[in-house]
Amino acid sequence: MSRAFIEFDTVTKRYGDLTVLDKVDLTVDRHEVVTLIGASGSGKSTLLRCVNGLENIQGGQILLNGDVVSGEGVDLVALRRRVGIVFQSYNLFPHMTVLRNCTLTPVRAGVATRAEAERNARVMLERVGLKDKADAYPDQLSGGQQQRVAIARAMLMRPQALLLDEITSALDPELVIEVLNLVRELASDGITMMMTTHEMPFAREISSKVCFLHQGTILEQGPPEQIFDSPSTPELRSFLRKIHEAGRD
């Protein structure tokens, strides 16, 4: 029995004639943190979005804990309750308070009563350092605070895996650290994570595996030291050089 929790088996995704993902093979083990890097348009976000069925795939299959979760006939609602996702643009519900943002799904999904959900939410908000913001509306929060609420909201469904899609890319530099600290903490709790990021030092520190995507395929994957210190393909070398020149490494 393998320890693989998320498996991509020759996954292919096309928009019309455009192939966004081309026969991607990747396994994510339990408690592993896998980071996808690559230029914009390389397919990182699409790969993440395929895992919880926000995008459908045209070839291959995706397995979660050994069971196929791609294609027809999958209970997407049940799948998404097992795999949470956090987006670059937070996507909090602007017409609801922070607390209600956090309790809506647990209550509707029937995993908690309203009182339980609120208690859990307050505990989680305290953990992300926003205990006193429970009754605020999202537009009263800074970007970093909103993103922490979004992470708390995703974690309250107690997902088995968490997908983080460039969650610091929309943040002002001084707010990035508060979100990264939170992710660091979640990783040390052992939740299985897949993420895309442009924060290379963070990727190096937190990841157990780094994958470099280029034009819809995984060109290189391996432990962070190998990827960052001894890249073997010219594409990855060129990508890392650009990152270096932009001062982002």
Binding site: N91, F93, R108, A136
Partner: protein, 365 residues
């Protein structure tokens, strides 16, 4: 702040000092001329108007000439004085003062233009109403005919209110069904989508008055059980709701499409069902976006209730028409216009208030 004149420089010359050319003030002549012409026109119109309205020659001189000239002339003379001052400042090399003076002269001239324009328009309208021995006034604004018919019109307006409210409720519900129907995803719902779109296309195109005519006269004739037994007012409600649900469906659709797709991605990805996403995330946000345009269509619907006159329902307009036919005078119908306007204004303010309140609550002010 004073700008040094070119020859007054004591500091060591810098390149910008050598070729010091101050920016000229904004030109004011065109504004002043236009303001003067319009003020003259407005004053003349006022004088003409007093010829009809006022008898005594002293009062006429006072109301028709002195008052308008004083009222309109004041901002104009202010604009003129500031412009003169600006020119003096310029020749005295007080460049900054010259420029601010010219700018404020322009502002005064614009105020004068606006004021004279309003006075002129009101005077023209009043001339039209009172000219020809007050023919317009007697035809449309006869106070006696208006007050005599007013309470019967108000009573009949209750019919319009019933029809408008009934049709609006039906149209809001059915419109939402249509809007959701036309964007249900997947191959299986294709017939539902096609049906919704077909309904919207057809019923948005049929004139309300024709539909009222067909439904109100047609349904009783068909003798279909249940359908043929209703009252004329119920038929009118149904007919208007048929048209307005098509309008509302498009409004809802625009409202739904205006919500950032990230909202439904986020909601779906947490494991909410499609129905819950609609109910808790999309529709509440949409409601805020479409409140103002929805009120506009509702006001349109309220006015269209006057169309029921074609099937013989005695609504406010139809009541007023009876009066006007008896009196050989249209003042009762004007009263209907006034009543309709009066009931729409509070609604607009109410929606403004709701939007402001929901905006304030969202930002916690």
């Amino acid at each position: 702040m004073k700008v040094q004149a070119p020859e007054g420089r004591e500091a060591p010359p810098t390149p910008s000092d050598i070729s010091f050319t101050p920016a000229r003030p904004l030109p004011t002549t065109a504004y002043l001329t236009a303001a003067a012409i319009l003020a003259l026109l407005a004053a003349t119109l006022c004088y003409q108007l007093t010829a009809i309205l006022v008898t005594g020659s002293t009062t006429r001189l006072l109301l028709g000439a002195v008052l308008p000239i004083a009222a309109l002339g004041w901002p104009l003379s202010l604009a003129y004085r500031r412009s003169r001052q600006s020119q003096q400042d310029w020749t005295a090399r007080r460049y900054v003062e010259a420029r601010t003076g010219a700018a404020s002269s322009r502002n005064a001239a614009i105020t004068s233009l606006g004021l004279s324009g309003c006075v002129a328009i009101v005077a023209v309208l009043a001339l039209m109403v009172f000219t020809n021995d007050g023919a317009v006034q007697k035809t449309f604004f006869n106070g006696e005919y208006m007050t005599r018919s007013f309470f019967d019109i108000l009573r009949a307006l209750w019919i319009n209110v019933q029809i408008a409210l009934g049709a609006q409720i039906l149209a809001m519900v059915f419109g939402l069904v249509l809007a959701i129907g036309r964007q249900l995803p997947g191959r299986g719902f294709r017939p539902v989508r096609a049906l919704s779109i077909a309904y919207i296309d057809v019923f948005r195109g049929i004139p309300s008055v024709v539909l009222i005519y067909l439904v109100c006269y047609g349904l009783p004739l068909t003798e279909v059980p249940f359908l043929s037994g209703g009252s004329l007012i119920v038929y009118a409600i149904v007919a208007l709701a048929m048209t307005y649900s098509a309008y509302n469906a498009e409004l809802y659709r625009a409202g739904i499409e205006s919500i950032n797709p990230g909202q439904s991605s986020a909601a779906l990805s947490m494991g909410l069902t499609q129905t819950d996403v609609m109910r808790f995330v999309i529709l509440p946000q949409m409601a805020r976006n479409i409140a103002a345009p929805m009120l506009s269509t509702f006001i349109g619907l309220q006015k269209d209730t006057a169309l029921v006159i074609v099937v013989g329902i005695i609504d406010a307009f139809s009541q007023a028409k009876i009066y006007s036919a008896n009196d050989f005078n249209l003042s009762a119908v004007t009263a209907v216009c006034i009543v309709f306007v009066l009931i729409t204004i509070p609604q607009t303010r109410f929606v403004d208030y709701l939007l402001a309140r929901s905006g304030a609550r969202k930002t916690g002010v």
